[in-house]
């Protein structure tokens, strides 16, 4: 392991410390919001790579989150008994992707297993991102923002209008997702600490992978596109392909976040697909400083945690809108880069150490 990845160790220590503190002080309820924040941050660091490093904005990432969440929720709850004889269902059955049981009224129930649902959901998001990305990523600036916004609206209206996705009620009663025997993503109180570690484990893993990516041939290519698209092209970087692959990668992370959070919450509602969610993610990446994975991670956790604790009350969305405006006006480099008389608000030691460590 390279020295610079040791920077993740203090984070690991903080994660463990927070959990221990919560259990000692009898306030384990905080772990619930911290778990949810970790899943949202998974989406946010993916979006950070897309926006900060590849320089492509997306106002539709709640859409990918919703594709992941809604598909896994629908597949693991919607009864397939009436469709048993259809080819698709028989195929899934033959592949061992279905699980039989009984619903609360004792009727026969046949649903897709969480693992299979997760794979289908994430693959769907990836394919949608790929197909959407080919035409849309040719656009620049506001045009790209508008096009991704349009995509977000479409997904929102689909989940809101379709009875398969539960219309305005969303989908509830989503079962737990057993990742490994004894390790299950679910909202059970008894599993609270374990789920906290699962969520943060995913986030740390994604952070490690994305940090590797940024500091590699591919990452340099992406940053080069951001720096000067023309010169990147002249150096042989296939800019269109790199942008597309990053878009798909960020959509996959968003979908995984959607799948896991839906199993954790036991359901999903249309607000998860709303435009305001997409705006919120963009705002958090901006607060974190755009091309700053640590900033995105830290701000993602803090702001989502405060929001989930209800600190912003019913002004939740207004607060994130305000944050976006303030950041754009006063700290376009992100809040971690804000200076007060030469002192950084939060000394960005990590970045400095990285530079010296190389």
């Amino acid at each position: 392991m390279k020295l610079k990845n040791l920077a993740l160790l203090p984070l690991l220590a903080v994660i463990v410390l927070v959990q221990l503190l919560c259990s000692w002080t009898d306030s384990v309820f905080y772990l619930t919001q911290l778990t949810m924040s970790a899943y949202y941050s998974l989406l946010i660091i993916g979006l950070c790579v897309l926006m900060g490093y590849a320089g492509q904005i997306s106002l539709g990432h709640a859409g990918f989150f919703a594709i992941g969440g809604y598909l896994s929720a629908a597949l693991t709850t919607r009864n397939l008994v009436p469709f048993q004889d259809q080819f698709c269902v028989r195929l899934l059955d033959a592949a061992g992707c279905l699980t039989a049981g009984q619903d609360i009224y004792g009727e026969a129930l046949l649903v897709v297993t969480p693992w299979a649902a997760c794979v289908i959901a994430v693959l769907t998001a990836a394919v949608v991102a790929f197909l959407l990305g080919i035409p849309v990523l040719k656009l620049k600036g506001h045009y790209l923002a508008m096009a991704t916004l349009g995509f977000g609206i479409i997904i929102y209206r689909i989940v809101l209008a379709s009875s398969y996705f539960g219309e305005a009620d969303g989908i509830s009663g989503v079962p737990g997702f057993t990742l490994l025997p004894g390790l299950s993503v679910s909202g059970d109180f008894s599993n609270r600490a374990a789920n906290y570690y699962i969520a943060w484990g995913f986030l740390l893993l994604a952070m490690l992978l994305l940090r590797n990516l940024i500091d590699s041939r591919v990452g340099r290519g992406l940053r080069a596109i951001h720096g000067s698209s023309e010169a990147a092209d002249a150096m042989g970087v296939d800019t269109a392909r790199f942008k597309l692959h990053t878009f798909v990668l960020s959509a996959i992370l968003a979908a995984i976040a959607g799948v896991l959070l839906t199993h954790y919450n036991g359901g999903i509602g249309p607000s998860e697909a709303s435009i305001m969610k997409s705006v919120r993610y963009v705002a958090i990446v901006a607060v974190g400083g755009m091309a700053n994975l640590w900033g995105a991670l830290i701000m993602g956790v803090i702001l989502n945690f405060l929001s989930l604790r209800g600190l912003f009350g019913s002004y939740d969305d207004a607060v994130f809108g305000l944050i976006l405006i303030l950041i754009m006006l006063f700290a376009p480099g992100g809040i971690l880069n804000l200076r007060f008389g030469g002192l950084r608000l939060l000394p960005n030691l990590i970045a400095k150490r990285k530079r010296e460590g190389n």
Binding site: L209, N212, R217, R220, G221, A224
Partner: protein
Amino acid sequence: MALLRINQLGKHFGGLHAVSDVSFSLKEGAIKAVIGPNGAGKTTLFNLISGVLSPTSGEVLFHGKAIQGFKPYRIAGLGVARTFQNIKMFAGMTALENVMVGRHVRSGAGFVASMLRTPACRREEVAIRRKSMELLDFLGIADCAEIEATSLAFGQQRAVELARALALEPTLLLLDEPAAGLNIYETAEVGRLITRIRDLGVTVLLVEHDMSLVMEISDEIVVLSFGQKIAEGLPTEIQRNPEVIKVYLGE
């Protein structure tokens, strides 16, 4: 055999004939300069060769193969590197990282390998870094390696851009006004550098305004005026060519 052949190349923007019917060829291992007054179509010609623009008519043959209309990244992949008239550094990246981008087509790690940092990927990364440092050293700016490229002095940025282009291990190097904005000492230094690059076996095509530099280092010169080739030959021939003198000095 000619490394590069331009065959009756033309580019029209509406009614404007930026380049029309230009033909010349470039021998392997030579330095050839394209000169001409402002607006003669020199940069357009460069953009046609490097794929930024596609020609309205004619051909660009590289190693005998038609490459006109290819995307720039494909042409770069064939071993054609270029620099820009107004330096285009990658902002937010160090000088070394800028040069490392130049190794892009000579390396192959993809998204998955990069994220997992596979052993092959790691070895490749070490090789990229070493080669890039060598090039910074070759250009005498190794001590700037860790400095953000956009904060370097102008002359150093030119050197970084040159190192970046060389990192591609080009067989053909296109230099768009490499001496622009440099004083006479720096210009002379750039001249020596270009000759050294040629001695490494790289064929060079350059656009340049500085006549002393062009006359000193070029093996051959092409003169453009209003998008057309008006002369081609050895520096001594060009200096005496009445057509060229007329274009530059007026009648």
